[in-house]
Symmetry: C2
Subunit: 356 residues, 2 copies
DNA sequence: AATAAAATTGGAAACGTTTCCAAACAAGTT
DNA sequence: AACTTGTTTGGAAACGTTTCCAATTTTATT
């Protein structure tokens, strides 16, 4: 790989000092028109571009924001990154992305790496915000940062869904549709404080509405055995009429499993999901779920870090109850009179109902 | 933000020269045990970390690979990035990510930015590989790089699906199921050479099998008017029995639209998608589609760039026909005898068939 | 004890920028 | 003609590393 031209090469070709080249190209300080055109010519001829490395060393700051997320493949984070990306790009910043694959151990090294690369700020999702070593390092160095999908004690340093409140809203939805005993379906329960918070919020919500304590159905990485697990789960808890899945993929998977067990959703089993991915609207029955806005959150976290850097006013994160919305859908049945009462929630399958 | 400690601070605290600190910490050259422990103590006390910026300036290389993709939110790219990320991380490299939002104009500036940040290599998806200015710059500088989802003349510098062959395979599937006249549904047709290649491959495939030339149904960003468009489309082309959607989301959307028009999928209209996202297996009917492996491709592209850098042997991309697989599904009907003949392709809806 | 060989150490240059400062020059003003 | 003022210019230091090289110290050999 042949070496890039440096400012020295340009100065040589233009017959001036490096200081002059720097001034001309950055439009800082004065220069004669004659000089300007000579520099311009040299730049063109050499296809010169500044080395950001040299600049960063001198200015001791990079135009780079570090991101630490558990996964890129998970659409929640992908969307959040997309939102952040757009904000960053329009401010001339770039995104240095590290993925922890849900492994808490790699969080710390990710953060150290970002620090040594001298990122101007960090947006991060950790497995446990209360006791993250990486996070304390960031705070110690007072590096501009913002949590994403973790709740922070200080409001302005976190953009996140209020998982507990959202889960309680799910309990409310079940309760309003006269469900009493439900289950909670989780994956990776121990690897993230988010799943736990959803469970706790859900339990609290059920309790507050006089419902039975939800039963926990936990599964491993592969969905393979989900159908069998569901079968056993329903056998052990025969009075369960609904399941809250901690994300929409799990919700769709459990719908499929129910179908395999000859159960009709929602007549025999109602399902509510979490996240609000678009696909939920395309399936039949449509998926009742909590709708969140990952893109907005990612963009917010990005803007927060930028305003730390630029010392401008912080964007205001949405208040707790504005971080999500409940979306009704065909996968949630009303357990009252057998005849449907509002035409919207259908106790009978509506798969090929053209009006839907 | 308080300044980080530098190697000078460490040298001062340990009472030695900076050269010694560098040698000790990098384990290059010799040092007395006594010296080693003094340096270690100083490092610990100051929480010292090397500045990669200083290192990069000196070594004129960064441990960073640049990525240019059209979108992060699109699960195809998200998965590819995930795959690449894992490869990079295990080799101690980081990912600098720039997203072009399908705008060809921003490709060039993205690439310039990456070059000025002195990335060690670039993985990129461009809108048109044949005439990408950014790509020629990269080639001119002989920067380690690899195309992703673009086909390159030189085989080892590209990891991609063979869109034409895959689309032809779709034509084969339709043909084998006795469909004769079909449609091709595309979004952003003009913004990417991939959609075009799929269309061309599909047309060629249909022709080769004696099917009628596929009609083009093109839609804009929002899916809002899709149902209406489909209605008009089918009115104008009443003999159409199947639609090839250029990605799975479009496929799911068109299934929904068909449902809204009181059409039964697959009895009245068969659908084949492209990409093979997991959700396709969870919906009812399951989606017939071309399955690709974005993660594998992303990982491959990452490995290719790394082997450029390390001058090791290139990983071999899969041969054209190994880049995809056709997956049968309930959304494709056999148009032969009304009674089903192999029990797999069901001409009648099987939504609540417990055996499915 | 004298010498050779090996190990340990630190100074200084280099990487590509920006910016301070002083020098050189041009153009007015007496 | 002798100033002042203002504009244009380039040298040099600094940012944080690595590495070459020479100087010093230790160890081994005679």
């Amino acid at each position: 790989m042949h070496q890039s031209a440096t400012i020295k090469d340009v100065a040589l070709k233009a017959g001036c000092g490096v200081a002059t080249v720097s001034r001309v190209l950055n439009n800082t300080g004065s220069a004669s028109p004659e000089m300007r055109s000579r520099v311009a010519a040299a730049v063109k001829e050499l296809d010169f571009q500044f080395s950001e490395v040299g600049r960063s060393l001198q200015s001791s700051t990079t135009r780079t924001i570090g991101f630490v997320v558990p996964s890129i493949a998970n659409p929640v984070y992908a969307d959040a990154l997309q939102g952040a990306q757009e904000v960053l790009t329009s401010s001339g910043y770039q995104m240095l992305l590290i993925c922890t694959n849900y492994s808490p151990e790699s969080e710390l090294s990710a953060i150290r790496t970002l620090i040594s690369k001298q990122v101007a700020g960090i947006v991060l999702t950790v497995s446990d915000a209360e006791r993250s070593e990486g996070l304390s390092i960031i705070r110690n160095r007072s590096l501009p940062h913002c949590l994403l999908y973790n709740n922070a004690p200080v409001s302005h340093e976190s953009w996140s869904v209020d998982d507990e409140a959202a889960a309680a809203r799910v309990a409310q939805a079940f309760s309003e549709n006269l469900h009493n005993q439900t289950g909670f379906l989780a994956l990776n329960f121990n690897k993230s404080d988010r799943a736990r918070q959803r469970y706790e919020g859900y339990c609290a919500g059920c309790k507050a509405r006089g419902m039975k304590k939800p039963q926990l159905l936990e599964i491993s990485e592969d969905f393979e055995d989900l159908t069998m697990k569901l079968k056993l789960f329903l056998r052990e808890n025969p009075s369960i009429t609904g399941i809250f899945a901690s994300n929409d993929f799990l919700a769709l998977a459990i719908v499929r499993s129910a179908r395999k067990l000859a159960l009709n959703v929602p007549r025999d089993l109602s399902i509510i999901g979490f996240d609000g991915i678009d696909v939920g609207l395309m399936v039949e029955p449509t998926l009742a779920t909590i709708v969140t806005e990952p893109k907005m959150l990612g963009a917010g976290a990005g803007r927060t870090v930028l305003s730390f850097i630029n010392k401008t006013e912080f964007p205001k994160p949405p208040s707790a109850d504005q971080t999500f919305n409940f979306r009704a859908g065909g996968s949630l049945a009303y357990l009252g009179a057998e005849s449907s009462d509002d035409g919207k929630i259908t106790p009978f399958p509506s798969s090929f109902d053209p009006t839907n």
